[in-house]
Symmetry: C2
Subunit: 671 residues, 2 copies
């Protein structure tokens, strides 16, 4: 709930912000340019603004003289807003782009759903986990009632909880007699619903029903994300009626790390190649398991949950990642006609893969559709609710690969393109994923060509992540520093553009401001890689709706999933032609869609069947030999696109800003 | 089909025999006594008979002089019958007992069913094994049809064989892609029907459907029996319509051995005690697995079947043996209230137990009813068809323990008694199981007290097995050498009865005639053990039908199962009170009932459900605290029983032979 207004002078632009909002952040959101090339880490001292009215928290800083401080100058990056305020932007940054902005008051934030909103995507499900615990108090055996220990327990589950058709895991049988007696026949049973009924997987002494947790993992080619969930959260604390209001379903802990397989190849193809070496498959399995174990360890430490209380693992990954994790040779994924080994994987005992978790824990592995449309996409379709929606929806997962799904509750079609891992930092000179120190927002002054950058955590810049990359390219295009082919103008009056070892480049942050005392630059090669990626995505979408006889106009909703962090700027993504130019109200950003689906599945056993249905229903179109894909791809290798009629508003804006800038410079005698 | 008649003079007794029948065997069956204390091994030279008419094969022997041979004397144990013959028994053995015999022409053989008859016990089932192979020819994948390898295979099974609802074992998925391609997409799938549908457990290149075998095992406390079965036998060669005529369902190989756990205790109680030592449970599991592996090895060598062609193991064992095999602590089986850990065991992968067989092979373990009524009994009820019979049937399994089941298709009640392993050789000074060299038939001349013994394999005697023991005690009773308490008369005019280190004993074979140059004797203690065993069995049966308000008269059929070998003599078993005195037509001997059930289950998946139903339907009565069992047991500690009205024919016979013998001896001046 934005509370305070911030008015920027001299443009008189006003936005609403939360209490304690950072002033530099507010400027970025308002489309006000403030020079800031240290990412908000209070290093460069360039983000000086003058407070005209209102209350802020803002400390002194060596880059501010006492006179400046007394005059009301503050470093925006150090300033927290405490009331309605008015600030003046120093003259060198006065020309802002607010007039050009298409976006609304809160910028992209209105498209990025808060966690509780996400559950509105999939209404109607109940918190009723597939792996659950039930407490039973059994009568001790007597000579008149000396049924077996297992029968006694199963009868207890039936009579006390109405659970029928239970079969027992052999390991439970092994230890059962020695748990029932010391616990005075009062035990907690852990059950899992499988396709084939309930399976008893664990028995603990006493009542442990309130301690039941799961870990969900998204195994990406580049990054692995994990969350630790309290499977009782909702049932106990918030939703006595059983229908979830979603508010308590947040993860207790989140952790992520690079997939350690990265050392053996950046994308799935190089991984598959590595797996064909002697011992390669085993090695790749070992290292991904080592990353998983590291993440589990972190989740346990962060949440202070004991390892033995984890009852379930849910894993979503693309087909290659899934096969490598399981140790299934992925060879034929890479060879035409691109055949995966299996779509449905039976539950696997986690310790069998080397995962450091109790022996009773099984892994639910999201089913796969094709070699390049994996469990991560099925999870995304589940988690974003496409599977139960009437409206025609386009689901785009933008990661190391790009996968797109078109459809609704009745049908689903998918394509995938090996876009290259640009958005996850690979193939980009200073690329990195969206962690602390990554440049996530970029604005460039159209007169001075000076950047304003914001890093995640307001730390000294280390590199640039996916959203920062899109911002930067959009800004370079908008300011006319690059042409529509992505090439730098050679005649720009700024040191920021220069010829480096890899060709022309733009200096985003200078070595004095960065963490590693090295300039952070964006090269023409980086830009070309980005264009290649966005072209593949765009062309894939085009083929997708063409193939089913529909057009972009028919699409009623676009769901964007992917590892962009919180700050992908919708308008900028459209501006460079990564996303199609359609009404911005149609877009929803869900963040990591796979993790979302994995979390949902953890909480609701009813979604097991839906997940299977999604995987069976989805039809995959192979792009590799598709008659029109390559043409569409080449047509999209342009900013925003060679077909300018597909991006009328972008083209109009590009024309307008170029004209405005030109006339402005003419006024100032620069042209 | 008996072909030739044999007439014994001077009694003029005639029986029909097969061609090449051994003459000593024929005499035993006819109830003609011939002295023979080397078991038929041509050592003692006592079985001289004179050929009067007909053709025989019979070699010369040092114990026969040339004169004797010329006169027509032959050693009966060396003589094969080649035509209708007439023989004269020498004067010292002339008094035979044929006038006393109750049994018919072919003796006990008419009650012991031939293997093919056994299938008449369970009519109506079809050969349709739970583990079966299907050959599929798949279309290779193309870009237009690039479903996963597993989906392709499962679709093939559905379209080519109508098999639906198949799930795959993870190990199949692991190797699938590398089997399909080299075999040109023509493979054989091995499937198993479980309670939860079909599971794909193996894939082999090419068409291997004609090579599908199972091994069934009866894990006894003393002995382990195994059979190797051709699961296609009937389908391919004999029963195109599917309904089995039974003729091709014999095992390809049979093997047995002592359960190596014997070194750690003779019965289940001592085994359980041993299992409570540190490392004891593990040790017992290891050694039983070592015996199983030995038997499997033997079966494979005998049948010349490759190990990899075995698709299924079916195991029936008592509850303690089952828990020990699985490594489940049997502690509470022994402690009141005698609770087993589980009745139903999920399918277990054989290699997980250390069994040397391919990794895809699962074990079906027969469900158990109670701590002392195990899977062996459930298998017996299945194999003997009690579960589908209208008539009231008493099923008795006589082994290390005795278990009795009363009931029909609608209800079943069971009891068990720790009879002691007398019938399997333990607790008997020269006891052994029914293998080569075991005395299996005994007859004693009532005048000379000389024995006529037959050993298995006509080898030199090593010891005495269950059937021999019953024969011997019955003969000792009939000849008046022991009284009804089982004590030897002290005044007998023979060296065969003497005082040995363990008290009075009867010399069955003298050291010159035995394999180990030691007298083989039967002691009073042996006899007491036998009486204890038979008393427990009898009392158990009594309690069983008393408990359900029925009496022996209501029992329409008695099925005898157990490791007696081929030659348990029904009349002698009744004579000593082991079996109740009812019409001999009501008895059926089925041999190893557990193995019978295990074999049936191997061949028919429809019997999986029936087996579960049997285990659930059976009500076990605990004898340990039963109000009347101890009284019944004490009443039965007498030969045949303290209640002589329950054995009117035995008592009449005992009275008559005693009178006849006495008058005979008076005539001869011996009394």
């Amino acid at each position: 709930m934005p509370k305070f207004s911030v008015t920027f002078h001299p443009s008189d632009r006003k936005i609403l912000v939360d209490e304690e909002e950072n002033l530099l952040q507010a400027a970025m959101e308002a489309g006000i340019h403030v020079n800031a090339s240290c990412g908000g880490s209070a290093t460069c001292g360039k983000c000086k603004v003058k407070l005209l009215k209102g209350v802020v928290d803002s400390p002194k800083h060596p880059k501010l003289s006492q006179w400046e401080y007394d005059q009301g100058y503050r470093l925006a990056c150090l300033t927290s807003i405490r009331s309605d305020v008015e600030v003046e932007i120093p003259i060198e940054s006065q020309v802002d782009k607010s007039v050009l902005a298409l976006k609304g008051d809160r910028g992209v934030h209105k498209y990025l759903l808060a966690p509780q909103d996400i559950y509105q995507l999939v209404p109607g499900w109940e918190v009723d986990p597939a792996v659950f615990k039930r407490y039973v108090q059994l009568d001790p055996p007597t000579l008149k009632d000396n049924v077996s220990d297992l029968t006694r327990l199963i009868n207890g589950l039936t009579h006390q909880h109405g659970i029928e058709g239970v079969s027992a895991d052999f390991r439970v049988i092994m230890k059962l007699s020695h748990i029932l007696r010391p616990s005075d026949w009062k035990v907690t049973a852990t059950l899992v619903l499988t396709k084939k009924g309930y399976k008893l997987i664990n028995v603990e002494p006493g009542d442990n029903t309130h301690r039941n947790y799961s870990i969900v993992l998204d195994i990406g080619t580049t990054t692995i994300f994990g969350q630790l969930l309290d499977l009782n959260g909702c049932v106990v604390y918030a939703c006595p009626g059983g229908v979830c209001d979603g508010t308590t379903l947040f993860a207790l802990a989140e952790a992520s790390d690079y997939n350690a397989q990265i050392s053996y190849g950046e994308d799935v193809i190089t991984r598959i190649v590595y797996s064909q070496r002697p011992g390669g498959l085993k090695k790749l399995q070992e290292v991904v398991v080592s990353t998983i174990n590291k993440i589990i360890q972190e989740l346990l430490e962060m949440s202070k949950i004991e390892r033995s209380l984890i009852s379930h693992l849910v894993i979503a990954g693309n087909t290659t990642m899934t096969q490598l994790l399981l140790g299934i040779d992925p060879k034929y994924i890479r060879e035409e006609p691109y055949v995966p080994t299996a779509n449905f994987i039976p539950p696997v005992r986690a310790i069998h893969l080397g995962i450091n978790i109790d022996e009773h824990v099984h892994i639910y592995i999201f089913p796969m559709v094709a070699s390049y449309v994996g469990g991560d996409i099925v999870a995304g379709i589940l988690g974003s609710g496409v599977f139960q929606r009437e409206t025609l929806t386009l689901y785009m997962d933008i990661g190391t690969n790009g996968e797109m799904v078109l459809g609704n509750k009745d049908w689903l079609a998918s394509v995938s393109c090996s876009a290259g891992p640009a958005f996850e930092g690979a193939g980009i000179k200073f690329g990195m994923r969206a962690t602390r120190g990554a440049i996530e927002e970029v604005s460039i002054n159209h007169r001075t060509y000076e950047p304003m950058i914001l890093t995640i955590g307001r730390a000294k810049p280390i590199g640039i992540c996916g959203s920062g990359l899109i911002d930067a390219v959009a800004e370079l295009l908008e300011t006319g520093m690059i042409d529509q082919n992505g090439k730098f103008r050679r005649d720009l009056p700024t040191d920021r553009v220069r010829k480096g070892p890899d060709g022309y480049e733009y200096v985003l942050a200078q070595k004095g401001e960065t963490l590693f005392s090295e300039d952070i630059v964006l090269t023409e090669i980086d830009i070309e890689n980005l264009i290649r990626t966005k072209a593949a995505m765009y062309a894939g979408c085009k083929v997708l709706y063409d193939s089913v006889g529909l057009s972009l106009k028919d699409v009623e909703q676009v769901i964007i999933a992917g590892g962009f962090g919180r700050h992908l700027d919708l308008e900028k993504a459209i501006f460079i032609g990564l996303l199609p130019e359609i009404d911005s109200e149609k877009f929803i950003f869900v963040g990591n869609g796979s993790l979302l689906g994995a979390r949902l599945l953890s909480f609701s056993k009813n979604l097991l069947k839906e997940t299977e249905r999604i995987a069976l229903m989805m039809t995959n179109l192979e792009l590799s030999n598709h008659p029109t894909f390559m043409n569409e791809f080449i047509a999209a290798m342009f900013l925003p696109h060679t077909d300018s009629s597909a991006f009328p508003r972008v083209m109009e804006r590009l024309y307008r800003v170029r004209r405005d800038y030109r006339s402005e410079r003419m006024v100032e005698g620069q042209l």
